[in-house]
Symmetry: C2
Subunit: 230 residues, 2 copies
């Protein structure tokens, strides 16, 4: 059994947990608080970030996109119809474009700011940059979120799943990122019915269930977070 | 022949140009100015960013990491010894960790800021966020750069190449990112002899030659940019 260093409010960590659950792989979870910059963890991943997958004593795979590719090569390729990457290069490129979108672009414009300001700063000392949330940053991130949700709706309205007609790693990445914001009550679902319909399908999958149990001390989830008919 | 939408000051664009040159593929280059947010280009890549590879009429691959994977699948896999991704999953993971480091982390902490402040803002209207560079941002990015260069030196001192004992896509990504900063005269080479030795080897490769000819109007390269014995 592999071990995953993760944080419940990290979209990339949730991405890997969803993929592992889709492939029916059980995993030991170790919660890591990246803002603590723990020396032993920095030796494992100099980037200082989660997720990190320990596949064996002293063998680590770092970063959501990289772990996702590793799991496809070592696991997904044997999953036939359940594989989350296509067999075709052009379709793989479309899936990867959207994985990158939700784990990197969306994170750098929305999720990263909102989790930092609303969650992580609560736990950080003032010297380390902790303290009260910056309302200007939150406002800018929420404006960006509106545009991203329009894009999710446009994708969901024009395709069966995020990257095409088959469920893929792109759905896991989009769902991972959006589920963190859903926990924080940041999504105005009534504005985006197509995105909501897609997310409801994702939320009712068995792979999503463990995410419903995630909790951050001092910050309970939004009231509809565990509701499958939100 | 493929067509690449690129910008000379985009590390991810240079990454793809280096890979194509290593695989002896000629390419048509189209310079795109992402800050103009040209409507036709946004329809091709909603992320609005370079590089984008046009492989056929109406078929586009978006983003440095994604194009890199596509080129490995359609080209690299047939290159035997010259392939820039390993055949082994664990080695591939280490290469991908470092490609992600230089195209995403390094970009979001260093290259993105320095090119935006020192290059792109010159060409942008005031309404679009153009104007004089912000010296606080430049100072912060330069402080980050020092730490990243120490990491490059540590890698270069402990391995033959950036990701291990064989040249790989990680060298192309690191070289692409650092070459943009070298153009801007941002690298203090005398501080990092191990990184300098590695970069001199990269710079003397035939694949690097086209990058030596890159020019940005109004901003000539640093005096040593084209010097192979810098």
């Amino acid at each position: 059994m592999h071990t995953l260093y993760h944080h419940p409010m990290s979209a990339s960590s949730r991405y890997i947990r969803l993929i592992l659950a889709e492939y029916s792989q059980t995993i030991e979870l170790l919660e890591e608080k990246p803002w603590e910059r723990r020396m032993k963890f920095l030796q494992i991943n100099p980037a200082g970030d989660v997720p990190v997958l320990m596949i064996d004593e002293g063998q680590f795979i770092c970063g959501g996109v990289t772990i996702g590719e590793y799991l496809d090569e070592t696991n997904g390729a044997m999953q036939r119809e359940k594989r989350l990457l296509s067999e075709k290069s052009l379709e793989r490129a479309e899936i990867r474009r959207l994985v990158d979108w939700f784990l990197n672009k969306f994170n750098s414009e929305v999720t990263g700011y909102l989790t930092h300001e609303r969650v992580f700063k609560n736990f950080m000392s003032v010297e380390a940059g902790g303290g009260a949330p910056n309302s200007n940053i939150i406002r800018a991130a929420r404006a960006n979120l509106k545009n991203h949700m329009k894009y999710v709706s446009a994708l969901a309205a024009s395709r069966d799943w995020i990257a095409g007609n088959k469920i893929s790693a792109a759905d896991m990445a989009a769902c991972a990122a959006i589920s963190v914001l859903d926990y924080l009550g940041e999504i105005q679902w009534e504005d985006e019915p197509a995105a909501k319909d897609w997310f409801a399908r994702m939320k009712s999958r068995p792979s999503y269930r463990p995410l419903l149990l995630d909790k951050v001390i001092t910050l309970p989830p939004a009231s509809h977070y565990t509701d499958l008919d939100f």
